[in-house]
Amino acid sequence: MKARVHVMLKTGVLDPQGEAVRHALTAMGFDKVEGVRQGKVIDLDLAEGATQADVAEMCEKLLANTVIERYEIEMV
């Protein structure tokens, strides 16, 4: 059993890395890019019986810093 966690900076929190990627894309001639936000994907191998609630607790306590980040969980 697996879960995939997406961690992104919250809207309104400056993402200088995403901004640098946007600059680079623009400089390379990709002129249709209006914004870039960079985040993380964390894949978890879970034991049988693990629930989405377990993963949510992991996100709240470690995987995301909810002061600045939001997360989404995919159970796969």
């Binding site: 929190v13 200088p16 890395q17 306590k61 470690l62 995987l63 810093n65 002061v67």
Partner: protein
């Protein structure tokens, strides 16, 4: 007067911090991150700068969940003093002892130089050796020192006089130029600049010495 300096894998300012406490008259114990308690009778805990756990996941995130950090949180909750510098400040925000978070520098560069700091409040055991409004020179050395907190938190910090230091010339994008903040009981200070790297004339400046001397003055056994 006893200080404990926490040592994580990847800490690199632990000895500097210990020397600064020692020069101010503290006896200093180094405490390994796997210890689950602090030595008896510790007055202040120093959480040093460096790259604990290689900055994996987020700066300070793994350190904040290490066994010794539970003891540091308990110490703070009991009203104990804690000084977190640089990575130590990041760790204290990750534990929730201090509000907000430290983001990547707005200019994306690692910055290592001496900066001017304005002392925003002399009303704490850490800053009592300065006058409010004093400008001091203290080195910074960080990649993730861009202080972020939401509007309500910033208003609360200002309203409660908990902003300890601000940058004269904001190097990293920190909101409200914030370089260091105090806890609600004023006994925990987190700051990105390194007072322990300006604690000896050989450092090229000794404006940081006053932090450790002021602490020694407050914590001196009567």
């Amino acid at each position: 007067m006893r200080a404990a300096v926490i040592v994580f894998p990847g800490s690199n300012c632990d000895r500097d911090l210990a020397v600064a406490f020692g020069q101010a008259g503290f006896s200093v114990d180094m405490v390994w991150h796997k210890d689950d308690r602090l030595p008896e009778g510790v007055d202040i805990v120093g959480v040093p700068g460096g790259f604990s756990y290689g900055d994996y996941l987020r700066c300070g995130a793994i350190a904040a969940r290490s066994p010794v950090c539970n003891a540091v949180v308990e110490h703070a909750e009991r009203g104990g003093y804690v000084l977190g510098v640089c990575n130590g400040f990041q760790i204290l925000t990750e534990t929730g002892i201090l509000p907000g978070a430290l983001l990547r520098n707005a200019g994306l560069k690692y910055i290592c130089r001496t900066v001017g700091l304005r002392v925003e409040t002399a009303d704490s055991a850490f800053t009592g050796g300065y006058g409010t409004g004093d400008v001091i020179d203290i080195p910074i050395a960080h990649h993730d020192g861009n202080y972020f907190a939401d509007d309500d938190t910033l208003a609360r910090l200002r309203g409660e006089d908990r902003v300890a230091f601000t940058y004269q010339d904001n190097p990293n994008g920190s909101r409200d130029d914030i370089a260091g903040i105090l806890s609600a009981n004023r006994r925990v200070l987190g700051m990105m600049p390194h007072p322990e790297r300006a604690a000896d004339p050989g450092h090229g400046g000794s404006d940081g010495t006053a932090v450790f001397r002021a602490l020694a003055g407050v914590l001196q056994p009567a």
